[in-house]
């Protein structure tokens, strides 16, 4: 049972963090020193009710007494304060008399005869001052509070209640006199972000704003009306309804944690460690009980450890208040039957809501909660011997719904996970600041001359208005994606083409057109996710990256894969467009990453469009297993290398109106590049370099790049420097190369050992009339050549038996050395 305890001090932690900011004057000066006694007014005797509350209270004590209403009496002023379940209350803060917390009472119970044994289960609300300023929403309504959906200790001593207040879900009027105790709650806050509190889906009406009862959302209203009814029940209830109550308690729990949180929950251990050791002074002998209570020692221990204790002087007795026990039994029946239906519903609804929330941590936490609650309710039923088949079936059903992971998790593991959540909470809040390079200190120069403008336009990064020569491909991709989006289905497309043929650029253009279509023509909005194999350290990181872009959450690779599969299996969401660039890098031995990516679109509710981009046309056949390539399908598009005409067009469109380039020169570049690779990037780089050369060229009278300049540029970029290098190497390096060639000729092989080459070298050097250097110097020469890779030398400790090859053709060597040899 203890593992069910979700007690956490997060709320308190948050409060401590923000304690420094609190300097507002206390609204309850006159009451801060007031001491209350309590008196239970209406005890809850209904067994189901008790069970339900027990699951809330998290103790295994059988001797609890539950109350719907209690009356607290101020001993100094003898003013009475009647607190009922569902009331909004101020709760004394442990860090100052002037401060208080806002909460709503969910249940009240007494675990013993002492006054300190009266506890309340509350749900917390944040005041605006308790939330760090950086996180506060921009528009704050007066007296706005936020439902705390982060997990927090829900148990408080009843004596800590210092006042009642009203929490409504509509903004209050400014002219209301009692604004100090009226709060408006429209949002929930989980320590990280705000969420609007949703209307109850089960359809129960929201309470009218005038109502003094303090409710903040519809779910709870339905729940509370149940309490009221149930307290009056005296007859034994049918087994089925017991089962239902279990469900309801589970559902209730979910509702509490509903919108929450990658819940920064800390484990029980941490909880106790962090607890401030407040002095407990309990003069409690004067407490008078209406009904005797059996005190369970164990539960008392647990409770006294857990509950917040506030200084207390004396206890007095207050007059009991009448409960609402006069309702007719038939009404009870009706409402309980009604609740049967209602109570099952929330569980389902909540689950779907959560899945659509995408929030990984949310999800798993909540699922764990379901586990926990269902376990607890199982326990309760078995304890009371009222549980029967129906209950079991119910819980079995729930068990089946849980993820395997939760099932296998031990409480220890859960604690660990929760601890992780705490740290992730901390880091996540800090991560809001994204890294960036500082902006420059001095302004940029704008391109002024014609050449400068041309250079700017020719840079690969310059984005043209439209991609020339890729209209067909654009159309194909666009219509494919648009069709899939509007029909709400999914599919895969494979795009191949050598580098620099505009694959990614076309994709980017398609995307911006689609966005425009969404904005203007009412195309259904879609999520866009982009991954690039080259920007991942490891194929499995793809999952992490996709999940992060889809939901903004972080998870380990394995976990992310599970969550994504779950996500794509779930209905009722936007279409997702996933672009996978450099697909071949996602290859793994098992090909599981590729498999998943292409498998998701085939799921029934996936609505996923995958566009995979890679260099090679035959990648599916060459690299992928059958089951992967079959899922990829046959929608393929291949980008052919640009022809020289297309390249010419690309350059001319970029240079339109600048006249910085001769037409002949453009043609030369286009033809040359088209012959080599058809790579548009290369083409643009050559042109840009040609313009630089033209700019530098003082002799040229024409103000444009001519064929000569292009020629120089091409020379620079395409020519191999090998010949130049050999020409400028030292004499012995040259002789060494000649010796290598001589040895090749002698042996007829394209490989020689260093020792044999050395012998030739010595002979050749003598022939040249040079003193032959010794072996060590010659090996030095050899290493120099090997370092610049003119020759390839076998690595290792082979010394003069290392094998050697030429990295250039023999003809090139001879050509380079021709002037020397002659």
């Amino acid at each position: 049972m203890s593992k069910v305890r979700k007690s956490s001090r997060n709320k308190e932690q948050v409060k401590k963090e923000t304690a420094a900011q609190k300097n507002q004057p206390a609204a309850f000066d006159e009451e801060s020193d007031v001491v209350y006694s309590w008196e239970k007014s209406s005890e809850i005797t209904n067994s189901h009710e008790i069970k339900k509350f027990k699951s809330l209270i998290n103790t295994d004590s059988k001797s609890l007494r539950l109350y719907r209403t209690i009356v607290l009496t101020n001993l100094d002023t003898s003013a009475h304060l009647k607190v009922s379940v569902g009331d909004g209350v101020h709760i004394a803060s442990e860090d100052g008399d002037n401060d208080f917390y806002i909460a709503r009472v969910e249940a009240m119970y007494a675990s013993g005869p002492k006054s300190s044994d009266m506890s309340a289960i509350v749900s917390w609300y944040f005041k605006a001052t308790e939330i760090p300023k950086s996180k506060l929403p921009k528009q704050l309504l007066p007296n706005e509070v936020f439902l705390c959906t982060a997990k927090a200790e829900m148990d408080v001593d009843a004596e800590t209640i210092i006042n009642k207040c009203h929490i409504s879900n509509t903004p209050m009027q400014q002219n209301d006199e009692k604004t100090e105790r009226f709060y408006f709650c429209g949002k929930s806050f989980n320590g990280k972000r705000f969420k609007n509190i949703k209307e109850d889906r089960s359809g129960s009406p929201a309470p009218p704003p005038e109502k003094k009862e303090t409710h903040c959302h519809g779910n709870k209203i339905s729940k509370k009306s149940d309490y009221v009814v149930k307290t009056t029940m005296t007859s034994p209830v049918s087994a089925s309804s017991v089962g239902m109550f279990d469900v309801s308690s589970a559902a209730m729990d979910i509702l509490h944690n509903d919108n929450d949180s990658d819940a920064a929950t800390s484990s029980d251990e941490e909880n106790e460690l962090e607890k401030p050791q407040l002095p407990t002074m309990m003069g409690s002998d004067e407490v008078k009980e209406v009904a005797p209570l059996r005190v369970d020692k164990r539960s008392l221990n647990v409770l006294s450890k857990k509950t917040l204790v506030v200084t207390m002087r004396k206890m007095n007795l207050a007059t009991p208040l009448p409960g609402k026990e006069n309702q007719p039994p038939d009404m009870v029946r009706r409402s309980s039957r009604l609740s049967d239906k209602k109570l099952v519903l929330p569980l389902k609804i909540q689950q779907t809501v959560k899945l659509s929330d995408y929030d990984s941590d949310d999800l798993s936490d909540d699922l764990n909660d379901i586990d926990a609650v269902s376990e607890s309710s199982d326990d309760v039923t078995s304890e009371d011997d009222t549980g029967d088949d129906v209950t079991d079936e119910e819980s079995d059903e729930r068990l089946a719904k849980r993820p395997k992971r939760g099932k296998n998790m031990t409480s220890k593991a859960r604690q660990l996970r929760q601890r992780n959540d705490v740290t992730s909470f901390v880091t996540k809040t800090r991560k809001k600041r994204s890294p960036h390079i500082q902006p420059r200190k001095t302004p940029l120069k704008a391109a002024s001359t014609r050449f400068e403008k041309a250079r700017e336009n020719l840079h690969v990064s310059a984005v043209p208005d439209a991609l020339p020569c890729r209209e067909n491909e654009f159309q194909t991709i666009y219509s494919f994606i648009e069709g899939k989006i509007s029909s709400g289905t999914g599919g895969c497309m494979y795009i191949s083409g050598v580098p620099g043929t505009g694959k990614t650029a076309t994709m980017t253009e398609v995307l911006s057109s689609l966005q425009r279509a969404v904005d203007d023509d009412g195309l259904e909005a879609f999520d866009y996710v982009e991954i690039n194999g080259m920007r991942l350290t490891e194929p499995h990181q793809a999952y992490v990256s996709i999940l992060k872009q889809l939901t903004g959450t972080k998870a380990t690779a394995d976990h992310a894969a599970q969550l994504l599969t779950k996500h794509f299996n779930q209905r009722g969401k936007k279409t997702t467009l996933l672009v996978v660039d450099e697909l071949d890098l996602l290859w793994t031995k098992k090909q599981d990453v590729m498999y998943h990516i292409f498998d998701w679109p085939s799921h029934r509710h996936a609505r996923l469009i995958v566009v995979a981009i890679a260099n090679t046309m035959d990648l599916p056949e060459r690299l992928m297993m059958n089951r992967v390539s079959s899922r990829l399908g046959l929608t393929r598009l291949s980008f052919l290398p640009y022809t020289f005409k297309q390249l010419q067009e690309i350059i001319t469109t970029r240079l339109r109106g600048l006249e910085a380039f001769d037409a002949d020169a453009v043609q030369l570049v286009a033809r040359k590049v088209a012959a080599v690779s058809g790579d548009a990037r290369r083409c643009l780089d050559v042109c840009r370099r040609a313009i630089e050369i033209a700019e530098k060229d003082k002799r040229s009278t024409k103000a444009s790049a001519s064929i000569e300049h292009v020629h120089t540029s091409l020379q620079e970029m395409f020519a191999s420097p090998m010949v130049k290098l050999i020409r400028h190497s030292s004499t012995h390096e040259k002789i060494f190369l000649r010796s290598v060639v001589a040895e090749f000729r002698r042996s007829g092989l394209e490989e020689a050992t260093v020792g044999l080459v050395l012998q030739h070298h010595v002979a050749l050097a003598k022939l040249e009339g040079l003193p032959p250097p010794n072996v060590t110097s010659l090996i030095k020469v050899c290493n120099q050549l090997a370092a610049s890779r003119v020759v390839l030398l076998e690595m290792g400790r082979h010394d003069i038996y290392a094998r050697i090859r030429l990295n250039v053709s023999v003809d090139d060597v001879l050509f380079a050395l021709s002037d020397y040899a002659s």
């Binding site: 890294p435 960036h436 940029l444 080259m534 920007r535 050559v686 072996v775 010394d799």
Partner: protein, 431 residues
């Protein structure tokens, strides 16, 4: 007084020889390359134009010196100095992308931008850095990435770092200038095609184009110290005049020229010259205030010394005899491997005839000597056969000799107290 002046002069020259502050007049042949790189960097700084560039040239031809010079020149420009961030990476230090990314983060001082976040996984660091670089625009500070030993970066897995740097340089995000420095002439072939396509294909080739006369000039530039007029006292001037005159004399000395030429023929690079001059400069003292040709000769002697011949000076006569018999075997069998028994037989032939020179060594002693030679790596096993060498008995392992005939003869010529018969035997295999 001369002492302190000498120390000062020595200090200046030492710094040059260790490559920290070479005189500017060196590398005048790199003028055009320098202008090119300078203009490129200037455009990155002023127009936020991203570029990538490779500087290729053989070792010690001044690539790094050149780039250092350009960067310092760019930094002299006030505008550039304020904006330009420089990231220095070296392929020998950043041996994989993970280390490189950490180093980039450190040098860009990004590690504190998000609180006290400690970098966890490699994946996180990569996405963090990419986010940092990709969120930039023209208005971000330009960054110069200087990758020395560029070829080693191409050996990183998937070339992730290079891809991303080049990709950002071509995507119009944070302005980058990526300059790679390498001595491998075939570096382009190392790049993956998609990385290659993103590289801008600007390559600057640098070669040593020195003639011998310029080489001697470089020798003088390395040693001579310019007199800075206003700065120093008269004594310093007098000292420098003396010092520089000595260098002039050295550069005309025939012995020195001969040594320089020998070095020049082997390597035109500056590093050979630096090594040659290191010893004489360190030798200077009050008693020996000026470099003499003898110093340089001494230095050259150790620089050009044959390592194996040196080792051979330290072996015993028995070991020397074994080396000689192995050498004969190699000649007789045309470089085919031999084993211990063959060597032993050859050795016996000699020792039996000339028994007055050598004691009658037992086989075990000879084997021990043989093993010692293996330890000295004067011979090694020849493992061309598929069988594991270690399985074969020591005596039968096929071996090859790593000593060239010329080295052996040189060593025997210098071997102290080498018996005449051994000398003769070394020269001809006929006993």
């Amino acid at each position: 007084m001369t002492g302190t002046l000498l120390v000062q002069a020595q200090d200046i020259v030492k710094r040059r020889l260790c490559g920290n502050s070479l005189p500017v007049q060196l590398f005048s042949n790199l003028q055009s390359a320098e202008t090119d790189i300078y203009n490129l960097l200037k455009r990155t700084v002023e127009y936020a134009e991203s570029n990538s560039l490779l500087i290729i040239g053989p070792k010690s031809c001044g690539k790094s010196t050149l780039i250092k010079k350009v960067v310092s020149r760019v930094k002299k420009n006030e505008n550039a100095a304020k904006n330009l961030l420089v990231v220095n990476l070296n392929g020998y230090m950043q041996t994989d992308d993970r280390i490189a990314l950490d180093e980039i983060t450190r040098q860009l001082q990004l590690e504190n931008t998000i609180g006290d976040k400690v970098f966890g996984s490699f994946a996180e660091t990569l996405s963090f850095l990419l986010q940092a670089l990709r969120t930039g625009s023209n208005e971000s500070q330009p960054i110069l990435f200087l990758l020395e030993e560029f070829d080693l970066f191409a050996q990183h897995k998937n070339q992730t770092l290079l891809y991303n740097l080049f990709d950002i340089a071509q995507a119009g995000l944070t302005p980058l200038a990526v300059i790679g420095v390498t001595c491998r002439i075939d570096v382009m072939e190392l790049l993956e095609k998609r990385v290659k396509s993103r590289f801008s294909h600007r390559q600057i080739f640098i070669c040593n184009t020195w003639t011998f006369k310029e080489y001697v000039g470089a020798f003088k530039d390395c040693l001579q110290i310019k007199v800075e007029e206003k700065k120093k006292k008269a004594k310093w001037k007098i000292f420098l005049a003396k010092w520089n005159k000595n260098i002039d004399m050295l550069s005309e000395d025939l012995t020195v020229l001969e040594i320089l030429e020998k070095q020049f023929l082997i390597s035109q690079g500056l590093s050979g010259l630096q090594k040659l001059l290191m010893y004489p400069v360190w030798l200077l003292s009050n008693q020996h205030p000026l470099i003499t040709p003898a110093d340089i000769e001494e230095s050259a002697k150790s620089l050009f010394a044959d390592s194996k011949a040196n080792i051979l000076h330290g072996v015993s006569v028995l070991e020397l005899c074994l080396i000689i018999s192995m050498n004969h075997l190699m000649i007789i069998h045309d470089n085919q491997p031999f084993n211990f028994h063959m060597v032993y037989n050859e050795f016996l032939k000699f020792s039996q005839k000339k028994s007055h020179i050598l004691h009658n060594y037992s086989k075990a002693v000879v084997l021990k000597a043989f093993e010692h030679l293996i330890e000295l790596e004067l011979l090694k096993t020849r493992d061309h056969s598929g069988i594991g060498i270690s399985k074969i008995q020591k005596e039968y392992q096929p071996m090859v000799l790593l000593v060239e005939n010329s080295q052996l003869l040189e060593a025997i010529g210098k071997y102290p107290g080498c018996p005449t018969d051994v000398k003769q035997w070394a020269q001809s295999s006929i006993v």
